[in-house]
């Protein structure tokens, strides 16, 4: 009990994810704004009965509150207007956790209105938004952060648990995916990539078919994926191994993104890898980039002045 107490109290000292949680808030808002902007023209097709998509649910249940889906479907552009407003507020840190909670709820409603178009990336993003709703992600890139020592310890605890939850969720996804894959014959016998690369829906490049015909490529990528998904959840917690595992995971996701046209899906998984770098590492990268940027700016203004 004493150990648990010490561990919990340790989590109240500082927000160990303050920088990357802020990055995550900005990333999630920009990604969702991009998705809304690209879907704007066909929102009625996806979320109302007007197009050819027959709605699956008549009622939507949002954490013990159930309401008729037509309330939203009939006012779809108003609903998305409010959604965009809260996304912009959250992007700039206005409204802080209230905006984060509202964005999570509105995003969840969009998912329940049209579950047919969801993939694993959307599912993971929903949980990231849920964790962000509790976290203090307003230390950086925010118009106004939390001030003073009010609830400081509770904010640190909630933020650390949110950061840990994103890391744990990523590990859970890999592990569950891996044990399902082992159970499947095509993964066990090393030919799964052959089938995925031959699926017309996910045929992302003109090279997919020729790559799928190469036994070396098929076996290596099939077992490589399996191995990574099995080992990552265990080895990533060893600090020394992160510098190897994170680039490999990024390569895997970038490959899936390009070869299978699953761009946003993979981008979310690539972004989540950053939670395994410490706040100090991120701040070092951040300040390094800031000083490099200011040097570049200084250099450009100097050249412009001398030219004039």
């Amino acid at each position: 009990m004493k150990k648990i107490n010490a561990f919990v109290m340790g989590l109240t000292v500082a927000n160990n994810y303050s920088f990357y949680l802020s990055c995550c808030r900005v990333f999630a808002c920009l990604l969702l704004l991009k998705q809304v902007a690209f879907s704007w023209q066909f929102l009625p097709l996806l979320y109302t009965d007007a197009g050819y998509l027959a709605p699956m649910h008549r009622y939507i249940s949002e954490f013990f509150i159930s309401f008729d889906a037509s309330l939203v479907r009939d006012r779809i552009y108003t609903f998305f207007g409010v959604y965009i407003l809260f996304l912009i507020l959250l992007l700039f840190g206005v409204g802080k956790n209230f905006s984060a909670i509202v964005v999570f709820l509105l995003y969840d409603i969009t998912q329940k209105l049209c579950p047919q178009i969801l993939n694993g990336g959307d599912n993971f993003l929903r949980f990231i938004l849920l964790y962000l709703a509790f976290a203090d992600s307003f230390r950086y890139f925010s118009i106004s952060g939390y001030e003073g020592a009010r609830f400081y310890k509770l904010r640190c605890l909630a933020s650390n648990l949110a950061g840990m939850s994103i890391c744990m969720h990523l590990c859970l996804i890999y592990f569950i995916s891996a044990i399902h894959k082992i159970h499947a014959d095509v993964w066990f016998s090393g030919v799964a990539t052959y089938y995925t690369f031959n699926l017309e829906r996910f045929n992302g490049t003109p090279f997919n078919t020729s790559l799928a015909n190469s036994a070396v490529f098929v076996v290596t990528t099939t077992y490589g994926t399996l191995l990574l998904e099995l080992l990552y959840p265990i080895l990533i917690w060893t600090r020394a191994l992160r510098k190897y595992l994170i680039p490999v995971a990024i390569i895997l996701h970038a490959g899936i993104g390009i070869f299978m046209m699953l761009y946003d899906f993979q981008l979310i998984f690539i972004f989540a890898q950053g939670f395994f770098l410490s706040n100090q590492q991120w701040l070092k990268i951040y300040h390094g980039s800031l000083s490099a940027f200011s040097k570049l700016k200084h250099l450009t203004t100097g050249r412009q002045a001398s030219a004039a």
Partner: protein, 208 residues
């Protein structure tokens, strides 16, 4: 007092994670028996992580057949190929076709899953005895049940869209939807064989 609050928050976190691991784990005797808990968990925290495990071993086709009721002339359209083609051509800015693809693919996957489920249900002895006296075959009953689903309604609505786009008078034709699977040859036969096509579902002719 405050440390009690922190411990309570931490315990809530642990409970959430224990429940998540318990219900997200593959079906086992423990989580299968926890029906009520699973229902509550899935209502709020639904998640599925078995990506491509296994991957489909076939590509799907949807044939929409319009038959003129007086001339008996048939127009056949395959619905998936044009969407997949546009999705490739517009990549990476293919959001619209990506969504269209997801809509049709999810309808096909659900229809296929329901056909399998209904086959199993009707194959059970209790159901066989129940329907023994009726003359409709199992296949017929499955088609009837599938035609009532929202997934099939999506295909009907899509058929209407195709009819409009191709200048087909909806009052003059009957429409039929046929879903097929084109199997990807086994890896060892990849250079020798072409994929075999098989009907997965065939609807009744219906009016648009």
């Amino acid at each position: 007092m405050k440390s009690g609050l922190y411990i309570a928050v931490f315990l809530l976190f642990c409970t959430y994670w224990l429940a998540t691991i318990f219900f997200v784990a593959p079906a086992n005797p423990l989580n299968i028996s926890a029906d009520i808990g699973r229902e509550i968990f899935n209502t709020h925290f639904y998640q599925r992580w078995s990506f491509f495990a296994p991957p489909p071993t076939y590509n799907q086709r949807v044939y929409i057949i319009f038959k003129n009721t007086t001339t008996k002339h048939k127009d056949v359209f395959e619905a998936i190929a044009p969407i997949v083609l546009a999705k490739h051509e517009k990549a990476p800015f293919n959001e619209y076709y990506q969504k269209m693809d997801y809509i049709l693919a999810s309808s096909l996957i659900n229809i296929e899953g329901n056909v399998k489920l209904l086959h199993d249900v009707f194959a059970s002895k209790s159901m066989q005895s129940l329907f023994k006296e009726k003359d409709t075959s199992v296949k017929e009953r499955i088609v009837n049940d599938i035609e009532k689903t929202s997934d099939f309604r999506t295909l009907i609505k899509y058929a209407r869209k195709i009819a409009d786009e191709n200048g087909i008078n909806k009052n003059d034709v009957s429409c039929q939807v046929i879903i097929t699977k084109v199997y990807i040859p086994q890896f060892v036969d990849r250079k020798l064989q072409k994929g075999k096509e098989e009907i997965a579902f065939s609807s009744h002719p219906f009016n648009l």
